[in-house]
Amino acid sequence: MRYLLRRLGTLVPVAIGVATLTFAMIHLVPGDPVVAMLGETAAPADVAGLRHQLGLDRPIGEQYVDFLAGLMRGNLGESISYHRPVAGLIAERFPATLELTIAGLVVGVLVAFPLGIVSGANPGGPADLGAMGFAILGISIPHIYLGPLLMIVFSLDLRWFPLTGRGGLAHLVLPAVTLGTALAAVIARMLRQSLVVVRESDYMRTARSKGRGAMAALLIHGLRNAMTSVVTLVGLQAGALLTGALITEMIFSWPGIGRLLIGAIGARDYPLVEGCVLTFAFTYVVVNMATDLLYGIVDPRVRLE
């Protein structure tokens, strides 16, 4: 419990850090929300007027302090391009991103376990080569390529799944596979590694010399050992998974927070960009706290100081 409180305490500096980094980056990038909004033919006086109206003509330091103060009060501000509170927009779009990310995680784990076990049980064998070949393929295909590829095969040619958009489970499959493949590959490799280490251990040598039950023993011990690594890995990969979700959303017209963010960057909608990035960061931190807690459950030897 104390640990949890401590972790929650670290959330504040991380949130401020992310907010500051985002603020600095988006303001350093050339371009202007007002020009992006009014277009190329806008009169200079109108641009200046709107800048004033939105408070963009104030000193950058003052804007930053205002932004942080708002954040402290839990106010993310109002989107410039939507004319709506940022918090509401995010609340609307976040479930779709969460759904996609969880589905990607599920695909990753479901694919990784059989692959990892198959190759770890008999390293160097043909099954190992095949599974690891698949893993390498999974890592080497970027989302922007895998997404359309899956669409061509499973939607255009086979007609199994709808192409784009969010709907039932069928809509979820292709984006989830796009997102989960790289994760599956990474976890599978980690599992294989753990199993190989256990396999070479003295304990297993003894078990093997006794002959029967070696496979079961390997799986039980190997997987138990691997669980902590897998949980840690999921935490480490959470960032990659969220970034992947962003691109996957773009490809599959998935109405999540990633598309909201890309659109907001294009429009230089500062409050919305900041809100989206903070949501991503917050999700990441929460996932990592969760994996830390899981760590304790999976491996009771780990004490949470």
């Binding site: 670290t10 500096p13 991380v14 850090g17 992310v18 980094l21 985002t22 980056m25 988006i26 350093l28 990038v29 050339p30 371009g31 160097g124 690891m132 070949g133 390498i136 393929l137 890592i139 080497s140 295909i141 970027p142 989302h143 922007i144 390529y145 359309p148 590829l149 061509i152 790289a182 990474v186 490799r189 590694q193 280490v197 480490l236 960032g239 990659a240 969220l242 970034t243 962003l246 691109i247 963010l261 960057i265 960009v273 990035v277 991503f280 960061a281 917050f282 990441y284 931190v285």
Partner: protein, 270 residues
């Protein structure tokens, strides 16, 4: 030579990586045509004699571009891994050894970077720094160093508790000596695995950044920008994406096997 037989990953991995490096060094000789020479009459030409992998939308020889691309893609990947590894390890080691508030501050900084969506960092850096190879390496390293920092620190903390390190410490060995003698070999395995995976991730990330306008400057070919440029023609000219795709796959395979072999080597030594 006996070690070779027992460590096939290392053998095959080394062979593939050596071959890739050779291609990067000598590829321009193997490819007969200029990778940047356009020939509009051969736009999207199918693979055939003269163009084993076909031609891209501007009629440039895909084979020549893959060969030249090796130089850039491998160069960038290795530089990014090296830079991330050095920076990450240093930061991680400082955090792990110093402990206390220094550790706390560094790890919060790591958390902030990790929590920040990498793609936004790339977009922002692309716009602020402008395109170019050096900027690409900086942008990718800015995202990559944290993993190594965490890894090194984690290993340090867990190893510090181990008996032999405690013993060395009690015996009066200086911290740097402890690090070099005991901790570095222990970290080498996981680092090698991480670094080899890193190479693959970076080649893929380079493609994503090409998509955002950051990366190798045209007309310089990189596997990433080839993959990105070929994407629009996936339906009619899949060979445009397949050639760099296979190159990326082989690269990742080679480095992974090498990493496995290294991990095994480190394991048997310690």
């Amino acid at each position: 030579m006996k070690g070779m037989a027992r460590n096939p990953s290392l053998t095959v991995g080394t062979a593939i990586v050596a071959m890739l490096l050779l291609v990067a060094a000598l590829g321009p000789l193997a490819a007969r045509s200029d990778p940047t020479a356009i020939n509009l009459a051969e736009s999207l030409a199918r693979p055939g004699i003269g163009h084993p992998f076909g031609c891209d939308a501007l009629g440039r020889d895909v084979f020549a571009r893959v060969m030249y691309g090796a130089r850039l893609s491998l160069g960038v990947s290795l530089s990014v891994v090296a830079l991330s590894l050095v920076v990450g390890s240093l930061v991680g080691a400082i955090a792990g050894l110093a402990g206390g508030w220094i550790d706390e501050t560094i790890m919060r900084a790591v958390d902030i970077v990790l929590a920040f969506p990498g793609i936004l960092l790339a977009i922002a850096l692309a716009a602020i720094l402008g395109p170019g190879i050096v900027d690409l390496i900086v942008a990718l390293s800015a995202m990559g160093w944290t993993t190594y920092a965490r890894l090194v620190r984690g290993e340090l903390l867990s190893l510090r508790e181990r008996d032999y390190v405690q013993a060395a410490h009690v015996l009066g060995a200086s911290p740097s000596r402890v690090v070099i003698r005991h901790l570095l070999p222990a970290v080498a395995g996981p680092m090698a695995v991480q670094a080899t995976f890193g190479v693959g991730g970076i080649v893929a990330a380079e493609a994503a950044l090409s998509f955002l306008g950051l990366g190798a400057m045209p007309p310089t070919p990189s596997w990433g920008n080839m993959l990105d440029a070929g994407r629009a023609f996936m339906l009619v000219a899949p060979y445009l994406t397949m050639a760099p795709g296979i190159a990326i796959g082989v690269t990742i395979l080679g480095f992974n096997l090498l990493g496995d072999g290294l991990a095994q080597l480190a394991g048997t030594r310690s």
